[in-house]
């Protein structure tokens, strides 16, 4: 397979269709607190739901609250209009908006007579021994139910084998980040590549990403007026970054849950407690400020990334009604000021209706920080 598939932003569903045609199950999930290793170990294809290129969410709006974020509404729209044709949905309570996707889809699927594996796992918002133990129990229930659903029990060996594959992805993504740091891969391209992980089987993804990295290593650096980092709400639209990069910025790093945060460091498995290792890894890694006790660590990681990647400015995109990233700037700004990195805050919706507004802000920001 050529790596061209990595750069396709539309959700074709081809891989899931082919997977299902072989008699196996494909299940969607929302939020990176759902460990894909469990799905892979059950021989279920994990499909991370996104709403890239959704232009109309009017069907979902009839179901969701007006206070739901447009990402959640658009994902539900894609479930309702058949963009996703999957065997079920696994959801962590990453945020309330995402939880509403599961609530509504569960009801709509039932109403339409569509058989679905529906399961929600609780991911505590604080990290200590008790909460990790609770989360592990939640994952065990998921593993048991999923194994029964797919016909392949989730075993320690299966989980270890799955972790070896996800770690291979993490290793390749680390190489991708090096290429971003060297300005050989744009932020737009990097997000496209990371989004492809949502829709391809893990074997397809590893093969394609390996090819891409080998090719991209030979590139020269992209000329840009300013090196930027993106942080904020779930961003699954590479076009959003393209608008910024068209104005002279180069997004060389991110702290986005569809970007760097969904991959992270390698997962180290303790043979004595395989599922416990997975629970500990997924609950303690700093994906987003949903937790009550990880915000200083997230801020420190952002500051450290600024230093390591020679970042000149941060763009903080905040989706309207985002509960996780709603008010982080107030706490983060002093840390960034201390290292002399300015931050531009922009509000956005899932559907790109404000490209012009974003462009003027991005261009002015680049003018302000370029050396």
């Amino acid at each position: 397979m050529s790596y061209e598939k990595l750069l396709e932003t539309n959700i074709s569903g081809e891989s899931a269709k082919a997977w299902k045609a072989s008699g196996k199950k494909a299940v969607g999930y929302v939020c990176c607190h759902v460990p894909t290793e469990i799905l892979i170990a059950a021989d279920v294809m994990p499909v991370r739901l996104r709403a890239t290129n959704c232009v109309d969410s009017s069907d979902a709006e009839a179901w969701m609250s007006s206070f739901s974020c447009s990402f959640a509404k658009s994902v539900l729209q894609y479930l309702m209009n058949g963009t996703y044709d999957l065997d079920g949905l696994v959801q962590s309570d990453g945020c309330m908006m995402a939880t509403r996707i599961l609530d509504n889809w569960s009801h709509i699927a039932k109403k339409n007579g569509k058989a679905q594996f529906i399961h929600q796992i609780g991911a505590p918002r604080i990290t200590n021994e008790i909460s990790i133990g609770y989360y592990k129990a939640e994952l065990q229930t998921l593993a048991d139910k999923l194994g029964a659903f797919s016909g392949k029990a989730v075993t320690d060996e299966g989980l270890k084998s799955a972790a070896a594959k996800t770690n291979e992805v993490r290793g390749l993504i680390a190489q991708l980040f090096t290429l971003r740091k060297e300005a050989k891969v744009s932020g737009t391209e990097a997000l496209r590549i990371m989004l492809a992980n949502c829709d391809l089987t893990i074997d397809e993804y590893i093969a394609a990403l390996g090819e891409f990295i080998a090719d991209a290593k030979g590139r020269g650096p992209i000329k840009a007026r300013a090196r930027l980092m993106m942080i904020g709400s779930a961003l699954d639209n590479p076009e959003y970054i393209r608008v910024i990069e068209d104005k002279g910025g180069l997004v060389v790093a991110d702290a986005l849950c569809f970007g760097a945060r969904s991959f992270g460091e390698k997962l180290v498995i303790d043979d004595k407690d395989v599922l416990g290792s997975i629970a500990d890894y997924y609950l303690t890694r700093n994906t987003c400020p949903r937790a009550l006790d990880n915000r200083p660590a997230i801020h420190k990681e952002i500051v450290d990334t600024c230093k390591a990647y020679d970042i000149q400015g941060i763009i903080y995109e905040k989706m309207q009604n985002c509960e996780c990233w709603g008010g982080e700037s107030y706490y983060l700004e002093p840390d960034l000021k201390a290292i002399g990195v300015p931050m531009l805050q922009v509000e956005r919706e899932e559907q790109m209706a404000n490209a012009g507004q974003l462009a003027i802000r991005a261009e002015a920001f680049v003018e302000m920080i370029e050396k």
């Binding site: 300015p342 012009g356 507004q357 003027i360 002015a364 003018e367 302000m368």
Partner: protein
């Protein structure tokens, strides 16, 4: 049936100006800035970094035509032609549609530079209240932007919102500021989240017997509150000044000053030209830099 006279209350006065202290521009470095905003277009011509001529007119439906119209009106009776202008910078929403520009720069950068020229190097916070958006800008002593924040999405708190109210109440837009003080007591503000909501609320208040003056006071109050929130979010550092069309509306300006407990610097020239002025100044700097490099 007799034709009803249609009065466009929202229309503000267009103007052009020529510097009487510069009798001849020949021999000077001529640079220009053209700011095509959503509502108004300005062209400023500078001779050796001093304003020589400008025009301020409404933006039409065709941005290139607006740019040409504005520069032509600014150059009228000066003997200048486009060929005499060494460098032109386009700015504003229509900056990419200035057919004779050498470069484009955002209006945020240009407004800071222009305000630095108009108000002097002590200016640190600029509130630009434009036709369809509003910007709180911080700058340094050279007029370089250090941070900025813009309003999101709605035209409430912008010139367009004021034009809508002018038409609704049949009051000339330029009279709104003074009229809004012809009241016994400051009323509560109308809705500031949406121009359409504000319009509906103003209609309702008129029906309940409020005078036009009182409704205008409530509207100016709402607009002031809205932009004060933007200023507070970006932080206030003195000296402070307001640019853009709404800077001419005392009803909004004095209320901002009262709410913030500060005084805005008073301008010595038309605040609507700040963006184009900044663009022309940046053009001059670029030409001088290039010449200095060539002479090295």
């Amino acid at each position: 049936m007799a034709e009803i006279e249609k009065v466009e209350y929202w229309r503000w006065t267009e103007s052009n100006w020529k510097n009487p202290d510069i009798p001849d521009w020949r021999g000077s470095l001529i640079t220009a800035g053209v700011d095509i905003g959503s509502t108004s277009t300005q062209a400023v011509v500078m001779a050796d970094g001093v304003p020589y001529a400008y025009s301020n007119m409404r933006t039409g439906s065709n941005s290139p035509d607006s740019a040409i119209g504005a520069i032509d009106w600014a150059m009228k009776d000066t003997g200048l032609t486009l060929e005499d202008i060494t460098y032109t910078i386009g700015t504003g929403y229509g900056r990419v549609n200035v057919p004779f520009s050498n470069k484009t720069v955002t209006e945020i950068t240009c407004h800071a530079k222009g305000a630095n020229y108009i108000y002097g190097p002590t200016i640190r916070t600029i509130l630009d209240m434009g036709g369809q958006d509003c910007k709180a800008i911080h700058c340094d002593a050279k007029g370089a932007v250090t941070s900025f924040m813009m309003n999101d999405k709605c035209a409430a708190g912008t010139g367009r919102g004021m034009e809508v109210i002018a038409n609704l109440l049949a009051v000339r837009v330029e009279d709104i500021g003074d009229m809004s003080f012809q009241i016994d007591e400051e009323p509560d503000p109308v809705s500031s989240t949406c121009v359409i909501f504000a319009k509906s609320e103003a209609t309702k208040l008129m029906r309940t017997g409020w005078t036009k003056e009182k409704v205008l006071a409530a509207y100016c109050h709402a607009m002031a509150l809205r932009v004060v929130r933007l200023l507070e979010r970006n932080g206030m550092e003195l000296d402070f000044a307001i640019t853009g069309g709404i800077a001419k509306n005392v009803g909004v300006v004095r209320r901002i000053e009262r709410i913030m407990g500060i005084q805005a610097l008073k301008p010595a020239m038309d605040t609507q030209i700040a963006g184009a002025l900044g663009a022309a100044l940046l053009g001059k700097e670029l030409v001088e830099k290039k010449r200095a490099k060539e002479n090295q």
